[in-house]
């Protein structure tokens, strides 16, 4: 009676494991990793105080065929406004639109994190015939590729944030990317970690390209340096899960020397787990969220914050104006991707901003700052 159940359970577990391991390899591309790490060393073209119009190693393409009399209608199909990073980004984008008098209408459609909704959103925008240009922040890569290809046949398209598997868009705007993000954090840990120290990796979810790139960038560095990674856990972005997982690891191993994170939103929860447990602070990697930066300064942590800068939300609007006035734009517009270290930490701390505000919004000089972003 019990045997079939046992076999069934074993099969389920085996299937789940296969799925878990298959997912990681699918997202790794050595050539991209090498290219991205190279970008980290390169000087970006353009004014250094406006990184959102800088570009690394750009190849410009002609856009004269898209030039058009204003005012224009700019359409934006957005994957979602469902986390603080996207809220800060979208607020910044709206402020950027206000800086362009030639943009008569800005139509924003929120896909609420659904591939299906985004596909029908884009089809709706195309059918309306209102758009002079279409900006897409794809919800997932593969699912959105066909509809972006359809859109390319009708009007100029700009893709940013996450990618699609086609080069038909006029411009693809992205920071350097996930490999560099993960590698910067991992290299910092390798340098700081005491001999024989252990590392816990905290990830949000499996299967999202941006996040998988971050982990594969880090995983190789840990492997090559022979670092003892005691676990790689998924927190689902929940602070309570994060705290519980870290507490469990502290109980299991007595001490954790370093925490690597693929996103900074739960970094403070991880740090608090050490406080509540009475363990010394770990070496930790976070992101440019204010709560983490404040904690870092107040407790004098050994930390680093790679970023996926929210100022990238300004660039598509700027690119839209360039394309509609026929100026050449970079085909792959690679934005610089700074990281915050102990040396420049103070520059990014903004006590007047909400705790979950992202410091690299590039929005400080925009109209309505800081109130528009929830600051005081």
């Amino acid at each position: 009676m019990l045997r079939p159940i046992r076999i069934l359970l074993a099969l389920i577990i085996a299937a789940a494991m296969t799925a878990a391991f298959a997912q990681t390899s699918e997202f790794f591309n050595e050539a991209d990793l090498i290219r991205d790490l190279g970008y980290m060393e390169m000087e970006a073209e353009g004014p250094a105080d406006q990184p959102w119009i800088q570009a690394i190693d750009p190849t410009y393409i002609e856009t004269t065929q898209y030039a058009k009399e204003g005012p224009w209608t700019v359409c934006f199909s957005n994957a979602g406004v469902n986390n603080p990073w996207r809220v800060v980004g979208f607020t910044t984008m709206e402020a950027e639109v206000d800086l362009h008098p030639n943009i008569g209408r800005f139509i924003h459609i929120d896909a609420e994190g659904s591939d299906n909704k985004q596909i029908s959103d884009i089809n709706g925008l195309l059918a309306s015939g209102d758009c002079d240009i279409l900006i897409v922040s794809p919800n997932t890569t593969a699912a959105l590729t066909p509809v972006v290809e359809t859109a390319c046949e009708q009007l100029p398209v700009i893709v940013f944030d996450r990618g699609v598997n086609t080069d038909c868009p006029v411009s693809f705007i992205t920071p350097i990317g996930g490999y560099a993000f993960g590698a910067v954090a991992a290299n910092f840990i390798v340098d700081e970690l005491p001999e024989g120290g252990n590392v816990l990796a905290l990830r949000i979810l499996p299967g999202v390209d941006v996040l998988e790139f971050r982990w594969s960038g880090a995983e190789r560095i840990f492997e090559e340096a022979g670092i003892n990674v005691v676990g790689a856990e998924f927190t689902e972005g929940s602070t309570a899960n994060t705290k519980s997982i870290v507490e469990d690891y502290l109980q299991r191993f007595g001490n954790i020397d370093a925490i690597w994170m693929d996103a900074g939103a739960t970094a403070v929860a991880a740090i608090e787990a050490f406080e509540d447990f009475g363990a010394p602070y770990p070496i930790i990697t976070g992101e440019d969220q204010q709560d983490f930066l404040l904690k870092w300064r107040d407790e004098g942590l050994t930390a680093i914050a790679p970023t996926f800068p929210t100022y990238q939300w300004r660039t598509p609007i700027i690119a839209a104006e360039m394309i509609l006035t026929g100026q050449p734009v970079p085909e792959r517009w690679t934005l610089p991707q700074p990281h915050i270290t102990a040396e420049n930490l103070d520059r990014y701390i903004q006590p007047n901003m909400p705790l979950l505000h992202y410091a690299l919004c590039g929005c400080e000089d925009m109209p309505g700052f800081p109130e528009r972003w929830g600051g005081r």
Partner: protein, 336 residues
């Protein structure tokens, strides 16, 4: 060797075990899980570690206790999780990190909880909308409200004295070591919940409605009043859980995601019948603790996340299936 007993006597431990097993198998499962975790990590049952485990489990246990009132009366409360989120986000926004604000903010939050519960109960009772639909609507409303008041990016912060309920410890307690505030809150509320459910007319009336609403009404029970009270219990427990979770892990926009399903799972693990009429408060609390112990065990086993989710699902189905099988068998023995 026990020389005073005859060979046919049943050992005392088997009697005790049978009693535990009969009241609800969840206690047995809980014991097995705790024993397993302790085997993997003997420090787990040291007082300070175990208290920490209770601290972490407290929000889910309180949620499950509130959910039980609704489930036994024949409903669901799917709005618990988003009420937790709203509590944390609104708490941070209203208090804005200033400890002087904590007390009135907590009062306002309970006021919101009261309104939500009354609304859920009234719509379900008077408009005859199934609670599944009412509370699903409420889930979306509260979630939308939480996003609306914060613009999607949480503002403000929870002051330390607000967070104390979920985070602070009383240091150097004799025998126990560090005693978390959350555990004290948990014990006080558990006692209150057991009292309300088993020793007042409220629990019995809720059970009667869940078993047979028409019979309960004919017996003179004011069905809407009991049902509204049950939803209010559920909402107030969600606000309490929100205060404790916000304390435990701080402000985040997804703090309550999926908690309503965990609470319902816990109640079912505790042997409550999903369509009402049967349920037991200590078992529901144990169900929540069991679920949390399961999560902890899977962490300790170091299983990759997808397996964790699968095992979690399998165990919940197993527990419910076992309860159903027992019910059928009990029915057969009675000749039904």
């Amino acid at each position: 060797m026990s020389d005073t007993r005859t060979a046919t006597q049943v050992p005392a431990w088997r009697v005790a075990l049978a009693a535990v097993g009969k009241s609800a198998p969840v206690f047995l499962v809980l014991l097995i899980l705790i024993a397993w975790i302790t085997y993997l990590n003997p420090r787990f049952i040291e007082p300070s570690f175990f208290l920490n485990f209770l601290r972490r489990s407290a929000p889910l246990m309180i949620l499950a206790a509130g959910q039980l009132f609704v489930v036994v009366s024949g409903g669901f409360d799917l709005s618990q999780g988003s009420l937790v989120t709203l509590t944390v986000l609104a708490g941070a926004l209203l208090a804005f990190g200033d400890p002087a604000n904590t007390w009135w903010v907590i009062l306002v939050l309970y006021g919101i909880g009261l309104l939500v519960g009354v609304f859920n109960g009234a719509v379900t009772s008077y408009l005859r909308v199934p609670s599944f639909i009412t509370t699903l609507g409420m889930l979306l409303t509260l979630k939308g409200l939480a996003l609306l008041i914060t613009g999607g990016a949480p503002r403000g912060a929870l002051p330390p004295n607000f967070r104390a309920f979920g985070r602070a410890f009383i240091e150097d307690v004799p025998l126990l070591g560090r005693l978390p505030w959350a555990v004290i809150v948990l014990f006080v509320l558990s006692a209150l919940f057991v009292y309300l459910f088993h020793y007042t007319v409220l629990g019995k009336q809720a059970l009667a409605i869940g078993d047979n609403q028409r019979a309960a009404a004919l017996a003179g029970i004011h069905v809407p009043r009991v049902r509204i009270t049950a939803f209010v219990m559920s909402s107030l427990s969600a606000v309490t859980a929100g205060i404790m979770l916000g304390g435990f892990s701080g402000v985040s926009i997804n703090v309550g995601d999926g908690l309503e399903l965990e609470a319902i799972s816990a109640v079912v693990l505790g042997g409550a019948a999903l369509l009402g009429g049967r349920g037991n408060m200590p078992a529901a609390l144990a169900g929540a603790l069991t679920l949390q112990a399961l999560f902890t065990l899977l962490n300790f086993l170091g299983l990759p996340s997808p397996i964790r989710v699968t095992v979690q699902g399998a165990i919940i189905i197993g527990a419910v299936g076992y309860a159903a099988w027992r019910a059928v068998r009990a029915g057969q023995e009675r000749g039904a």
